[in-house]
């Protein structure tokens, strides 16, 4: 294990984010699979209402839903998943602070407190980060971290940035007390690039690339470390030698192909489509490389899709190549 992968796996917390629809969740899951296969015990965390990791990573449906669990649930050797629900994390936090479970339940169950929480700003982000910090700081009895690597399927760009900026806001307004102490610790973890990195996932298309560049600028302003950009869904180049001449030749062929797959009209259209798509994708990848001064790590588009453990496994292998 060398290069970028080793650098990523030496971190404690990887926050995978990017524009909606770029495949953040699949990349986070694949990164978890890859890390576990490298012998790093990893927990992949999904946040709030998202609940797709069990389907993505497990061959069989879970016996007990991971939803309400506080502890990461094992899915494979060295690989765990956790669904982090702010309300549950708040209950857990109150319990840790109060040492009495019943009290915490009573508070979180209070109806008017609920209405308040529904609208109050920032606490979801804060408690989410608090729980991540808690996971990152847990130690094994024999020493060493209980969770050497935490991969978070973070919210899409806008909300992802809110998540990262909440600690600074709290530190600006709160000067003392337990909340200040806890937020200080969270902030310290987030802004320590030796432990925490944001991994932007993008597609080689206009809007995702623009959003990635804006995301990087904002993350930098917040003092949080940035990992390489992962370009997902890169369509493979068509290995057609002397393309224009070949296409002209085929277009002039007589009809009578034994299969639609050899029909001159079909193959020329399919090849032209692929060539044009590749050209457009190359332009956006080039734009990304010029703007960041670093080539994006390209993950090819998988025709079969990534909707279960097999797809994630293939994606993990591609990711291994991309991060070499």
């Amino acid at each position: 294990m060398t290069g970028t992968l080793a650098a990523l796996l030496s971190r404690r917390l990887l926050l995978v984010t990017g524009k909606g629809g770029t495949g953040k969740t699949s990349i986070a899951a694949a990164l978890g699979v890859l890390a576990a296969s490298e012998g790093v015990r990893t927990v992949v965390v999904e946040l709030g209402s998202s609940d797709v990791l069990p389907e993505l990573l497990r061959a069989q449906p879970a016996e007990a839903p991971a939803a309400e669990s506080r502890e990461p649930q094992p899915v494979a050797g060295g690989l765990f998943i956790l669904r982090l629900v702010p309300e549950r994390a708040l209950e857990e936090y109150l319990e840790l602070q109060l040492h009495v479970r019943m009290f915490a339940r009573a508070i979180v169950g209070n109806a008017s407190f609920h209405r308040f929480l529904d609208a109050a700003p920032g606490w979801r982000e804060l408690i989410t980060l608090g729980k991540l910090w808690h996971l990152a700081s847990l130690e094994e009895r024999a020493g060493g971290p209980r969770w050497p690597l935490i991969v978070v399927d973070a919210p899409a760009t806008g909300h992802g940035l809110s998540l990262l900026s909440v600690p600074s806001v709290v530190l600006d307004t709160v000067r003392m007390g337990p909340l200040r102490r806890n937020t200080d610790r969270v902030h310290e973890l987030l802004t320590d690039a030796a432990r925490t990195l944001v991994l932007p996932v993008t597609l080689p298309e206009e809007l995702p690339v623009n959003e990635t560049l804006e995301l990087r600028a904002r993350v930098r302003e917040l003092g949080v470390g940035l990992g390489p950009v992962i370009a997902n869904g890169v369509e493979p180049e068509l290995a057609l030698p002397d393309a224009e001449r070949a296409l002209a030749c085929v277009a002039a062929l007589p009809r009578g192909a034994p299969s639609p797959l050899a029909d001159p009209g079909v193959v020329v259209a399919a090849a032209r489509h692929r060539l044009a798509r590749s050209k457009m994708q190359r332009e956006f990848l080039g734009q990304l490389a010029r703007a960041t001064g670093d080539s994006p790590r390209e993950v090819p588009w998988l025709a079969r899709g990534v909707d279960g453990p097999e797809g994630v496994q293939s994606l993990a292998e591609e990711l291994r190549g991309a991060l070499a």
Binding site: L98, F116, V166, L240, P241, A246, L261, V267, H273, R274
Partner: protein, 392 residues
């Protein structure tokens, strides 16, 4: 409803998950309505720069900008038709709302100075969604447009934004909030009873675990907002009315994604229960099969036969080409295209089953290899949706 009929709505809302091309489709709907002679405004959340370049509006801002008349004329727009676009800005929308609803300058300044307000109006639960609907209400009330196309923020669950007004107005009542806002008053009036209440207990405990300062700053934030809350609630109800009005139609934009198609039925049920009118569905970025009929099923023997025939034919026609390599690449491309086209057909069938839309309310837009964020690209999509072959 046929796509032409969509344009008779006063408000069209494009909904869908992130990355399916909602913004582009919203622009296309706006462009088409303007061509038909309507005065149109497209409201988007995306800083879609190339889209703005294509439309010639310059960078999109919070204020509406007109598409130059000559571009519309070039696209065959009728006299009287106009198209403007604006980019929604959550912070600005909230600022405007505060400006309008605050009773006096001091109250306004208190809110603007609050650090939680300054930094977190984006993180306020559902605030992006709320600001989209708030701006819609404002513009709708002005009555300057025949049609407003609202491109909604991407939500993991496409309809989250319907909940936003409700959530923001829902927390107005509630003892806990009152305690936070006026602890002294409440305790003073009926100290014993309130002291024993659950909320008082909650407050005491939270004070212990978070520190008084945090509660104070949240209280200040809410206090500053308190006088706006009644106005908020009224606005929320107005938005809800507008979105359910028969003149408001929702267009679902979807990508050819199986998981999403599977969730479509739940989505439909939700729309129904909300009293929302779904007028159509655009299945975007469908892989076209470049021949009449359905793409052939995947068959390795068929592919091998095709490759042999093509290699022979190429070798016979042009001896300088590497016939075997060309045939491999070309049949490979055709086979991949067939696989994608087959998958897209399955998605389409699933969506058609799940959504009881009439057949003509359903349209598929192919994935173009070229950049669609140019005027010609938008016109091509419009031709796909509206089935025109005349102009371009």
């Amino acid at each position: 409803m046929k796509p032409e009929g969509w344009l008779d709505c006063r408000v069209l809302v494009t909904v869908g998950t992130g990355g399916v091309g909602k913004t582009t489709i919203a622009a296309v709907l706006g462009l088409e309505a303007a061509r038909a002679g309507k005065r149109v405004l497209v409201m988007t959340i995306d800083p879609a720069r190339r889209l703005a370049d294509a439309l010639g509006t310059g960078p999109l801002t919070h204020e509406a900008r007109e598409v130059p008349r000559e571009r519309l004329t070039a696209l065959g727009a009728r006299e009287g038709g106009s198209l403007a676009a604006l980019m929604l800005d959550t912070k600005r929308t909230f600022d405007e709302l505060v400006e309008r609803l605050a009773s006096d300058p001091a109250a306004r300044e208190r809110i603007f100075a609050n650090p939680i307000y300054r930094n977190l109006s984006d993180a306020l639960a559902g605030s992006r969604e709320y600001s989209a609907t708030e701006k819609l209400l404002q513009v709708h009330a002005e009555g300057r447009y025949d049609l407003i196309v609202l491109d909604t923020p991407p939500a993991a669950h496409a309809l989250d934004f319907l909940d936003a007004p409700r959530r923001l107005s829902g927390f107005l009542d509630g003892q806990f909030l009152k305690l936070l806002l006026h602890p002294a008053a409440v305790v003073g009036r009926a100290s014993l009873r309130v002291f024993r209440s659950g909320s008082e207990f909650v407050l005491r405990v939270l004070e212990r675990v978070t520190g008084l300062e945090f509660l104070t700053s949240i209280s200040e934030f809410l206090l500053a907002f308190e006088e706006l809350l009644a106005g908020f609630g009224e606005r929320a109800r107005e938005v809800a009315r507008l979105l359910r009005d028969p003149s408001c139609g929702f267009v679902l934009v979807a990508g050819p994604d199986l998981a999403q198609a599977r969730r479509a039925e739940a989505f439909w049920a939700r729309l129904q229960s909300e009293g929302i009118h779904l007028v159509g569905l655009v299945l975007n970025r469908v892989h076209p099969w470049p021949a009449p009929g359905a793409p052939p099923p995947d068959d390795a023997a068929d592919a091998a036969r095709a490759e042999r025939w093509l290699a022979d034919a190429i070798a016979g026609a042009d001896r300088e080409l590497d016939a075997a390599a060309c045939a491999r690449a070309l049949v490979g491309a055709a086979r991949a295209q067939a696989a994608l086209a087959r998958r897209d057909t399955v998605v389409r069938q699933q969506l058609e089953r799940a959504l009881p839309l009439e057949g003509d309310a359903f349209c598929a837009v192919p994935l173009f290899a070229e950049d669609v964020h140019a005027l010609e690209g938008l016109a091509r999509i419009a031709r796909e949706i509206f089935g025109r072959r005349d102009h371009g």
